[in-house]
Symmetry: C2
DNA sequence: TCAGGGCATGTAAACGATTACATCCGTCGA
DNA sequence: TCGACGGATGTAATCGTTTACATGCCCTGA
């Protein structure tokens, strides 16, 4: 009953506990142990407890490498970002990790900034069969790599459509609708002259929003020249740059809509440094609803992206694909919600002497 | 010379390209291919090019599972956090990923919040030999797991000393010095009544800082009752709670030092909601220098933690341990730097009628 | 001429699981 | 009573590398 430890045992590098040890101890074959672990109801009740006891006594944990080698599956997912530091993604990642873990998957995090052959590093990672699935946030694998794993390893885009990868499934936000709703809100508050600070050049998500913005603008019968769509980026700096542009304008928009909260905050800071007040002199809306949106002064009116939901949806969708269960929808769009705070205000009705006789709502 | 593809080849699930294929193509043995890859100078020049050509032609990538199984090393590291969403850690993680990747390691990110057997999940991950090293941020592996991997898999703490795990190597910031320096700075500005909003109960890092604070206070010959060390946490809410406490005080400190920027911001928000101004009525300093410290109004005076350096140091240290190269120092403390912005101001010399005759410096 | 020492390479045994196939045994229906 | 069947288990091949050991060769020094 008691295990004797041979005198030499302490000396030699102790071999790890394998399925054989368990099998021997339980008096069964390794096949039975493996089955007891993978399909418990395939082995007889009595044998099963025998096996589980032996496992508990030996402290056995199946070796992941051996398992992967034989079963051709690693239970790992690669999440590839472009800059891990971006606080927007952390909430999404959090939800992804949670969902993956409860499905038994681990998450490898990679950053594909191109310096020092980083992309090559992650190419190799997936080509060497180290992951069962890939989540692409704002970055690519190489084209060859994508071609090689096509049909073998599922790839899913998160919040970042890629025009050059049309076939890939994607989980994102209903960008058009979000742009539409925010613009309607601004128009409803009396704003007739609006600017949007866009995302980085070519960003499909931001373009979609602009589409929604333009549609709302046109839908309200406002003249297109009153809508300015500036190019930008999702950064603070882009907000500051837009502010410079804004301040130089002879006739300034009464409301500015940023492609992200960071942009909006950067804009507000810069515009305030120039002596203007927000929302006194100009209303500013953001996008995303990051943590600081509510802590900033003025607290930011913004469109909330349901980041936890996005993460969960992405992970669930990917898991379905990895387990071969048909796979969820190929394009998932979750709705945003308008969050009203202090950085946007209704416009005083002393707006420009209007030549066209439009509406004439009574001010509050 | 040309490879003929058998008619059936398209039908059957195509076997992956193995080292055998390369060996056959190059006319050498698999051992030679393996050697050409691992120790290029062990094989003759001519053979080497033969092998590399064959690799290029076949598009071979070594299978990670097989390699790990045989070589007993996965080139993977687990970074275990307690809440991935914490923006403080993302910069550190960024640096870690960068450093690990350039050393050929991948990074698995895990969150050990205890819900739904998460800890068990990551215990299993490391026990199954899936990683070569572990970085612990603010969380534990189970005690049994720690015992099991002791001496086999290096574990390193990052910015989070654990009183119950005394033996582990750690990379952190020089907390005592940081507390000391900030306090001296405040005292130098004329503050004689200071409060510190501490970290969560039992947090060693925050306690170290308090030690530095108390030493600076005592060193300046100030009465200990003028220093208040409140318990708290690193969150916004903790800042707001501290504000409530602060506002209820009959005689309020003139400077409040938060254990994190989030705490400081939470404090400022709450105190301002109550009608006070910062730094007009009370000076507030933070800790960390997160991104928003500079964007907040007033821009936060704070101690900067060199997060990128911390990450790099941690990763480098761990890599040394994993490769068996003796291993870096067991306790690394990087210095913080004082960042002066707008939330702290020199105190007007109309301070309380002092009973004790202390110093009598001339005001500026 | 030959032993011996390197070097380059090949042979084949691991690594530790999964799983197709074989085997055994008890039961049931005819 | 016998054959068929099916459930539980065992046997052994397999996954794709790495690496200890063996081999063959050339060269050098005695």
């Amino acid at each position: 009953m008691n295990k004797r430890i041979t005198p030499a045992a302490g000396k030699r590098a102790r071999r790890s506990i394998t399925i054989r040890d368990v099998a021997r101890r339980a008096g069964v074959s390794t096949a039975t142990v493996s089955r007891a672990l993978a399909n418990p109801d395939q082995v007889a009740e009595a044998t099963r407890t025998l096996v589980f006891d032996a496992i508990a006594e030996t402290g056995f944990t199946p070796n992941a490498a051996a398992r992967s080698l034989r079963a051709r599956s690693t239970k790992m997912v690669l999440a590839l970002l472009h800059g891990i530091g971006d606080s927007f993604y952390t909430v999404i990642l959090n939800a992804i990790e949670r969902t993956l873990a409860s499905a038994g998957y681990g998450m490898i995090m990679g950053d594909s900034r191109s310096e020092s052959g980083r992309q090559q590093h992650y190419d190799r990672l997936v080509r060497s069969g180290q992951v069962d699935g890939v989540l692409l946030f704002s970055s690519h694998l190489s084209a060859e790599c994508m071609a090689e794993i096509e049909g073998k390893i599922p790839v899913l885009l998160v919040c970042n459509a890629m025009p050059d990868l049309p076939g890939l499934p994607i989980v994102e936000v209903a960008n058009r609708d979000a742009g539409f709703e925010m613009t309607n809100y601004l128009i409803g508050l009396g704003h007739r002259h609006i600017a949007h600070i866009g995302g980085p050049a070519g960003n499909v998500e931001a373009l979609e929003r602009e589409r929604g913005i333009a549609e709302a603008f046109a839908g309200a019968g406002l003249p297109p020249e009153n809508l300015q769509l500036w190019d930008g980026a999702f950064s603070f700096e882009a907000g500051a740059a837009a502010a410079k542009r804004f301040l130089a304008l002879a006739r300034r928009p009464t409301a500015v809509f940023g492609a992200s909260d960071q942009v909006a905050i950067g804009f507000i800071k810069a515009v305030r440094d120039a002596g203007l007040s927000v929302p006194g002199d100009v209303s500013v809306a953001g996008f995303d609803d990051i943590e600081y949106a509510n802590l900033f002064s003025p607290a930011l009116t913004t469109m909330r992206q349901p980041r936890a939901d996005l993460g969960r949806a992405a992970a669930e969708n990917l898991v379905e694909r990895m387990t071969g269960l048909a796979g969820g929808p190929t394009r998932t769009r979750l709705p945003c919600t308008l969050v009203v705070r202090d950085s946007v205000r209704a416009i005083a009705p002393q707006s420009k002497p209007r030549s066209k006789a439009g509406e004439a709502k009574a001010p509050a």
